[in-house]
Symmetry: C2
Amino acid sequence: MNKAEKNVQRDYKKGYPSPSLQRLPLYLRQLKLYQREGVEKASCTRIAQDLGLISVQVRKDLSMTGIAGRPKVGYNIDELISRIESFLGWDKQRKAVLVGAGALGGAILGYAGFVEHGLSICAAFDVDENKIGTSIRSCPVYSLDELERFVEQNQIVIGIITVPQSVAQFVTDKMVKAGIRAIWNYSPVRLSVPSNVVCETVQLSSSFAVLSSKVKSMLAEERKTGPA
Amino acid sequence: MNKAEKNVQRDYKKGYPSPSLQRLPLYLRQLKLYQREGVEKASCTRIAQDLGLISVQVRKDLSMTGIAGRPKVGYNIDELISRIESFLGWDKQRKAVLVGAGALGGAILGYAGFVEHGLSICAAFDVDENKIGTSIRSCPVYSLDELERFVEQNQIVIGIITVPQSVAQFVTDKMVKAGIRAIWNYSPVRLSVPSNVVCETVQLSSSFAVLSSKVKSMLAEERKTGPA
DNA sequence: TTTAAAGCAATAAATTTTTATCGATTTTTA
DNA sequence: TAAAAATCGATAAAAATTTATTGCTTTAAA
């Protein structure tokens, strides 16, 4: 590894383990399920069982939030939920805009779950004249030209990118210029952003690659041992 | 970890490192970019640079596919592409159905990229009478009642789930019963499937959790050192 | 009241994944 | 034609992540 490569890597600041962070929403969902069932306490053993994990991992993950559990009892569900939510910053609403009011954009606007994660999508933007002026899922669609003004006036923090890959970097630059600080990117391109802006890309094909690999080894297995 | 927990874990067969698998589509995309530019060879150094990775990691990842590179030159791009594609099984089309012809389903049907990954979505299914009989992105929408017959008659391997979480397990069971062997799940529920069926869940909230964590540490950093 | 069981917390071990190093090979340049 | 530079492939080291172990605490049952 040469010096240039080292600098690339060092750009990311060491925080919490990413696999653990990614499991937190699973716990949250399960805990809310318990909550709806009227259960008040949950042990790691129980949570692990219900999620197909093992208890020590759950315990270690949850310890990130600083919660204390009681032996033989577990954690208080209400407290655990609010601990996780505040750990992720999901306890307060963060304002967002979405650019690209196509099918994918519409799907994200329509997914109610994100509201529970503190994501408040205030407006969508597009260049399509037929969409501008309409509402999608009660979210107004404006012209992309108005992005900058809107972001400034409404102190938007998060930008969601659901445009075709050919214009993803262009939209990113516009967002950055407008003052967006975090970008949730649904396009498959690697966006370049300044160091004071964070970015997270959803790679659907990565997920499909994992599935494909599973399929391949399943089929290979069957050729050896015969179909199930 | 008790015995029951051990069995849960052992259910998955050890294959290739999942992080490596997830990077393969990134390489593929970059390589096709080179290809369109008319470039014939690419070194790990170059690929790493363009993707923000380091060369040894790229080299190790690509070695999964069994490709041989030449020192000082790199890999032949055409060959590397077909190696990756065949490694993932993306070189031959696999037939799929999609259940849940809502916004998310429509977005997936509309994403042309998946065709390049060997994913051939033959039909969509829904229970909404207004959708049944129509076409979305030139993909016919049938009644969910017809799923089983269609899967059997057309030898469908993959099922894509884009329904609300409340019916995800119900749809899964239907798919399994019909003979689907792989499920790509876009709902946030953990699906239970028999051991001869593989399943991969897209967790959008996990991605958002990572972004949220980045935002939190960015903001915390700024409170210490002052805004950029 | 004692004993047993469940489960948390902390620490240690194992595993997986990433990164570094080194020798060999190919190309380019002197 | 020899030396230098780039990069592969393999192996070793380091770091990150997962899993195991141990001791202590709380609850419940004998």
